[in-house]
C-alpha cells in the first residue's frame, strides 16, 4: 500500500534557514549547509526547500548575519542534494524553464512554482513537457477573507488574486501540475492546525496529490490533514522546535491509523 508522506518544509532567506509566521515575521534559525546532513537523516519521506528571499523583506536576523546571499541558493541545493537520499523539492523565485533546469542540474527531483505559475500557467505545461508532470509541484498560497471565503494569494502573500483555490488548482492540474502544495497563510506559524476545510475542498476536486502545509503545532494536526484528504502532510516549525519530531510524528501518525513508512 502506498504510504502517506511526512514532509518537512525548510525555509531559506538570504542563505539562512528561517522560521515564518503569517508570511511576514522571519527569524533566522540556522545555516542550511551545516544542517543539511541532519535533515537528510530524518525519518521523513521527502524534503521541500523553499527560498523566500526578497530584497525588500525585513527579517530578525542578527546584524552579523546580515550579508545578502551569503551563499547562493544553487550552492545550497547542491550541498543538500549530496547527502539527500530521498526525494528533494526546491522552490522559490523560479520563473522560467531555464531556472527549472538549473534546479534539476543542481540536484532537485522536483521544483515548486507559485507566483510565476499563477501569472503564466503555460509555464507549468512547458515544464511538464520537458521534466515530466511528476517533477512539477504547484504551490498554492491561500488566505481567508473577512467573510471566510478562501482566496489565492501570490508574491509571498502580498498580492490578492480574487481567485478561488478550487478553480486555480483545477486549472493548474489541467496545465500539468503533478502535485499541489497547499499552504494556508492564516495558519502559517500559528501552531493551531491545518485549515482542514480548505484541504477538503481542494482535495475533493484534485486529480493529483495534495500536500497540506501551514499550522501544524501538534502531531494530531497531521491526522486532521490526512483525514481531510491530504495525500502528504507537511510542516515547518514543528521540526525545528520539537526534539525527535520526525520519529515521534511518524509514530503518532501510525498509531492514529495512517499508513506511514516507519
Amino acid at each position: 500500500m502506498l504510504r502517506t508522506r511526512l514532509i518537512p518544509v525548510l525555509l531559506l532567506q538570504n542563505g539562512l534557514l528561517v522560521r515564518s509566521q503569517s508570511f511576514r515575521i522571519h527569524q533566522a534559525i540556522g545555516n542550511p549547509i551545516h544542517e543539511a546532513r541532519r535533515f537528510n537523516e530524518w525519518n521523513v519521506d521527502e524534503l521541500i526547500y523553499l527560498d523566500i528571499s526578497r530584497d525588500d523583506s525585513y527579517d530578525l536576523r542578527r546584524d552579523d548575519h546580515k550579508v545578502k546571499n551569503l551563499t547562493g541558493p544553487m550552492e545550497i541545493l547542491e550541498e543538500v542534494s549530496r547527502t539527500c537520499f530521498m526525494p528533494l523539492t526546491w522552490g522559490g523565485g523560479i520563473r522560467t524553464v531555464a531556472a527549472m533546469r538549473e534546479c534539476f542540474l543542481s540536484g532537485a527531483d522536483k521544483i515548486s512554482i507559485n507566483t510565476a505559475a499563477y501569472r503564466t500557467p503555460q509555464l507549468i505545461r512547458d515544464g511538464a513537457k520537458i521534466f515530466g508532470r511528476q517533477a512539477m509541484v504547484i504551490c498554492v498560497d491561500v488566505c481567508r477573507r473577512e467573510d471566510g471565503r478562501p482566496e489565492v494569494v501570490i508574491e509571498g502573500g502580498r498580492e490578492l488574486t480574487g481567485a478561488d483555490p478550487v478553480d486555480w488548482v483545477q486549472e493548474a492540474v489541467l496545465q500539468g501540475a503533478g502535485e499541489i502544495l497547499l499552504q494556508s497563510l492564516d495558519r502559517d506559524g500559528t501552531a493551531q492546525g491545518y485549515d482542514v476545510d480548505l484541504i477538503r475542498s481542494v482535495s475533493d476536486v484534485s486529480a493529483v496529490p495534495i500536500i497540506a502545509l501551514g499550522g501544524v503545532g501538534r502531531y494530531e494536526h497531521f491526522f486532521d490533514g490526512w483525514k481531510a484528504g491530504a495525500n502528504a502532510v507537511a510542516a515547518a516549525n514543528i521540526f525545528h522546535f520539537k526534539e525527535l519530531s520526525d520519529r515521534n510524528a511518524k509514530r503518532a501518525m501510525s498509531k492514529a491509523g495512517i499508513p506511514v513508512r516507519l
Partner: protein, 205 residues
C-alpha cells in the same frame, strides 16, 4: 575500489545516483559513449523519461550492442534503475510499439489499475521479496522504496522476478534479477537506508 560506469544518455538527472554510489565508496565514471566500458567493472543504467526516446538515445551511440556484449557475454554486473529496468524488455508500448534492449524476455506495459488510483504511481510503497538469496537478501517483506513510474516490465519467465509490489489491486514486478543482471523499478538512490543497502549489495556483486 569499485569502478562503476554510469550510462549518461540524456535521460534524467544522474546526480543522485552518483552521490549515492560515491557515498558507498565507489568511483563513478559518467559514460557518454561505450568506449569507457573498458575502464569499469560494473555498469548502472539509470533513467527517467519515455521508452522510445531512451532507446533512440542508446542506439545513437551504440549502447545497445555495447551493453549486450558487456552484460550478456562478458557477464559483468549490471544494475538498471526505473526506466533502466523497463528498457531490458524485448519491447515497450509507451507511445506506440518500440523495441527494447531485449535482455529479459517480456514487454514493458502500462500499469494495470482500477480507475480510482492515479498514474504515475508516485511515492513510498512496499516490496515483497520473492527471492531472498540475491540483491534482496536481508530485505524484510513490506520494506518501502520510492517509486515514480507509469509502466512496468512483464517478464515471460517468472524466474527472473526477485520482488513484487502491489498498486491499485494489482502486483507488478518491482525487482528483476538474473545472474549478473539486477534491476529495480524503484529508485534506491532516493530510498534512504534500504536503498543504499541495496546499492551496497550491488557493489559487492
Amino acid at each position: 575500489m569499485k569502478e562503476v560506469g554510469l550510462v549518461d544518455y540524456g535521460m534524467g538527472n544522474l546526480r543522485s545516483v552518483r552521490n549515492a554510489l560515491e557515498l558507498l565508496g565507489a568511483r563513478v565514471l559518467l559514460l557518454e559513449d561505450p568506449a569507457g566500458l573498458s575502464k569499469v567493472d560494473r555498469v548502472v543504467l539509470p533513467g527517467v523519461g519515455a521508452f522510445a526516446v531512451a532507446m533512440t538515445n542508446l542506439r545513437n551511440v551504440g549502447w545497445d550492442d555495447a551493453l549486450s556484449e558487456y552484460v550478456l557475454h562478458m557477464r559483468r554486473p549490471f544494475l538498471g534503475l526505473c526506466l533502466g529496468l523497463q528498457l531490458l524488455a524485448d519491447r515497450g508500448t509507451e507511445h506506440g510499439e518500440h523495441r527494447g534492449l531485449g535482455f529479459i524476455a517480456g514487454a514493458t506495459l502500462r500499469l494495470e489499475r482500477p480507475d480510482d488510483v492515479p498514474l504515475p504511481h508516485i511515492g513510498w510503497n512496499e516490496v515483497r521479496p520473492v527471492r531472498t538469496d540475491g540483491i534482496l537478501s536481508g530485505v524484510k517483506s513490506g520494506t518501502c522504496f520510492y517509486f515514480v513510474h507509469s509502466y512496468a516490465l512483464v517478464p515471460e519467465d517468472l524466474s527472473v522476478v526477485a520482488g513484487v509490489t502491489e498498486y491499485g489491486g494489482h502486483d507488478f514486478v518491482s525487482v528483476i534479477e538474473r545472474d549478473n543482471i539486477v534491476a529495480t523499478q524503484f529508485h534506491p538512490e532516493k530510498s534512504q537506508t534500504h536503498g543504499l543497502d541495496l546499492l551496497r549489495r550491488f557493489l559487492a556483486m
